[in-house]
Symmetry: C2
Subunit: 191 residues, 2 copies
């Protein structure tokens, strides 16, 4: 039996403490400047260079039989009273699911459908969270150390960042009396 | 937009030390008796009840957009000089890939194609190993403590245990001078 597209198995070393991968294949860094307009508080140009999070990916060919994976490291921090978070996205192929696995630090996985339904899962080391298809997802660092998690998803899922950039998410996560609280996003849908 | 099969997100707590999941949804236990004929040494009926490994699964509907996941805990032990291992399988849908993530202990991920090509990845905590489609895969505990890893795979991958039960794997992992060594399986293909 000959398989024309037979891939060779490989492995990558993940450092639990830093979330970094070795070898490092594809890294995305997002600063506050990259996220202009995504936080409720006014943007402060002086903070534009601050790194909010980094994603270290293990890319594979984008078929529906392959699985892509990554670690994400969200720094601790806030903009106003809103915690540092990822941009968040829907999958371009909406039905594709994703698995999140908490490795270090604490946070929240905030999910929403395009109908405005929301669901939040708290994450800490060992939390395995399931993001079913059709749920947009964003992660938030609600702690005082980096929040690090591993994610696996069908390699053909693709990214739709635009929907959340335009509409926002129905809820945001803010600090109230020193604790994280999920509250309605007053700007949701105002596009 | 209405999605008829919209699933509700959920999470599961994974204990890094034991590999157990909470809630525990589906557990498979394999004893030496369940693996009769899979080790080179003669089967010892007195050891038939010995647990070799347990798999704790997070099941989801078996579509190609969902991802199933599990933790596997392989006990330390040997049959003759052959280390405790899983039965191993090909995916029923051969092209489906799988991601393995080492959590505790040390082992080897032994892979083979049906053409007899082999590939071995050593695993320790933090190893993220990629099993591409078409590669049968089996894990082996080469250490003195439980070898625990997390796995994620397309929920429609399915299991073909029969091919390895009939043919064996081209290589086996044995202890030589106190160290694990990958050697040819003298019974491979003998059916």
């Amino acid at each position: 039996m000959t398989v024309p597209d037979l891939m060779t198995p490989f492995s990558t070393a993940l450092d639990f403490a830093s979330g970094r991968l070795d070898p490092e294949r594809k890294t995305t860094e997002r600063t506050l400047g990259d996220m202009r307009g995504m936080y409720l508080a006014d943007d402060d140009p002086a903070r534009a260079g601050e790194v909010v999070y980094r994603v270290y990916e293990i890319p594979v060919p984008a078929t529906n039989s392959n699985l892509a994976s990554s670690t994400t490291v969200i720094e601790p921090g806030k903009v106003g009273d809103e915690y540092f978070m990822t941009k968040g996205h829907y999958h371009a192929r909406r039905d594709r699911a994703e698995i999140y696995f908490g490795l270090s630090g604490t946070g929240m996985l905030v999910m929403a459908t395009e109908d405005g339904e929301t669901h939040v899962e708290e994450m800490s080391p060992g939390t395995v969270a399931y993001v079913p298809g059709w749920w947009g997802h964003r992660t938030v660092n609600t702690g005082s150390e980096p929040f690090i998690f591993f994610a696996a998803y069908p390699a053909d899922a693709g990214y739709d960042y635009g929907t959340i950039e335009r509409e926002g998410f129905p809820v945001i996560v803010v600090e109230r009396d020193g604790k994280p609280q999920v509250v309605e996003n007053p700007r949701y849908g105002s596009g």
